[in-house]
């Protein structure tokens, strides 16, 4: 009897410790799922961007071939469309992705600078656009249309890697959730709990990332990442207490 009394409080402590451990693991899983969502969304935005600018460039080139545009007009249009695509895709990135993109102020090239640069690349260091023949000028404009359809392959490869890693983490998160629900004593309650914690973690991370973006100002990736992580953790913790 004495040994029973001695064991009972220890079991309660162990249960509390186990419960605390389970909650910590749950929150960690919610954070992983939130990070995976950011990575997947930014990877998808990058893929859209690549398709968009390639499409704009190709369409513009085809319009010249059909006689609808001159190469001069095409270069001007490709230049403007590329800048519009840039703004559009930043809007589709997550707060963290946007903060990384906005950490540096672009020091872009005007259309005239592009013309001068492409002239030198195509016709040598001593070339002068003003002295080129109309056909040579068209080659310069065509090169600008082509350049407007190119994204940096280093960035694309990095974003593709992030996207693949994000999707893999999401699959693992979902698999662990399915296992947890399937092996629970009350699968319906476990499903509600898991859904609430993971959902709150992801939604909290997205929302607090956006808020951190406003609070930290544009181009503060470390601040926004920390904000997204803290928000996701707090939301997952809150959900695990409530559900």
């Amino acid at each position: 009897m004495a040994s029973t009394l001695a064991v009972a409080p220890g079991t309660t402590d162990q249960n509390a410790a186990r419960s605390e451990f389970d909650r910590t693991v749950e929150i960690l899983r919610a954070d992983v799922a939130a990070a995976a969502s950011h990575m997947t969304l930014d990877g998808a935005a990058r893929a859209t961007y690549d398709r968009l600018i390639r499409g704009f460039s190709e369409q513009t080139r085809l319009e010249v071939e059909r006689g609808g545009l001159t190469w001069t007009e095409a270069a001007d249009r490709a230049h403007r469309l590329r800048n519009m695509a840039l703004d559009a895709i930043r809007g589709r990135s997550t707060a963290v992705g946007r903060a990384f993109a906005e950490q540096l102020k672009a020091q872009g090239r005007s259309l005239n600078e592009l013309i001068a640069r492409k002239t030198l690349q195509l016709f040598g260091a001593d070339a002068d656009f003003g002295r080129l023949s109309p056909a040579q000028r068209d080659r310069v404009f065509a090169a600008i249309v082509e350049a407007a359809g190119k994204s940096n392959p280093r960035v694309t490869a990095m974003m593709r890697g992030l996207s693949v890693a994000g999707r893999a983490l999401l699959v693992v998160s979902i698999a662990v959730t399915v296992y947890t629900v399937a092996t629970a004593k009350d699968p319906a309650a476990a499903a509600r709990h898991e859904g609430a914690v993971l959902g709150a973690g992801i939604a909290g991370s997205m929302a607090s990332g956006a808020l951190a973006g406003l609070a930290c100002g544009p181009g503060a990736p470390v601040c926004v990442t920390i904000g997204a992580f803290v928000g996701g953790t707090l939301a997952a913790f809150g959900a695990s207490m409530v559900f």
Partner: protein, 148 residues
């Protein structure tokens, strides 16, 4: 330290995103496609070697790769400046003193580079201005800053 005329170097495309460089009877490979500037480090500099400034020929999302090599074109250190969806233009490079130069590229800031006499211990991801990416190494052979 002095800038080399581009005609003093041989630059040819190598694997995707990198170029083969030939100068002074030596050959090597650097990352980047378009040579923006090449600098020779001479006796008065901290080391003798070469600095190459290369961009990716992606006018709307260009990054600048800086490669420091020894006199035999063996790479000593490398850094890349840039970010997704942002572009830069390499402009106004200037020699500021032995082993030191500055240039414009991105972010409306003047970038200052200093070559070190020997590699110094450095932690990855810290100590560089924002937008600088380096290979995962525990040493640096040149520093970059935007303060001065």
């Amino acid at each position: 330290m002095r800038f080399l005329d581009h005609r003093q170097l041989g630059v040819a495309p190598a694997t995707a995103g990198s170029s083969a460089i030939a100068v002074d009877g030596h050959s090597g490979r650097v990352e980047g496609v378009v040579l923006e500037a090449a600098v020779v480090l001479e006796a008065e500099d901290p080391i003798q070697g070469w600095l190459f400034f290369m961009t990716d020929d992606v006018p709307y999302e260009d990054m600048l790769t800086i490669t420091l090599t020894d006199a035999g074109l063996r790479p000593l250190d490398r850094a890349r400046i840039g970010a997704p969806y942002v572009t830069g233009t390499f402009r106004a490079p200037r020699i500021d003193g032995p082993g030191r130069l500055s240039f414009d590229f991105i972010d409306e800031r003047r970038w200052h580079l200093a070559v070190l006499a020997r590699p110094t211990l450095a932690l990855p991801f810290v100590g560089d201005p924002r937008g600088v990416h380096r290979p995962l190494r525990l040493h640096r052979h040149f520093t970059l800053d935007t303060s001065g």
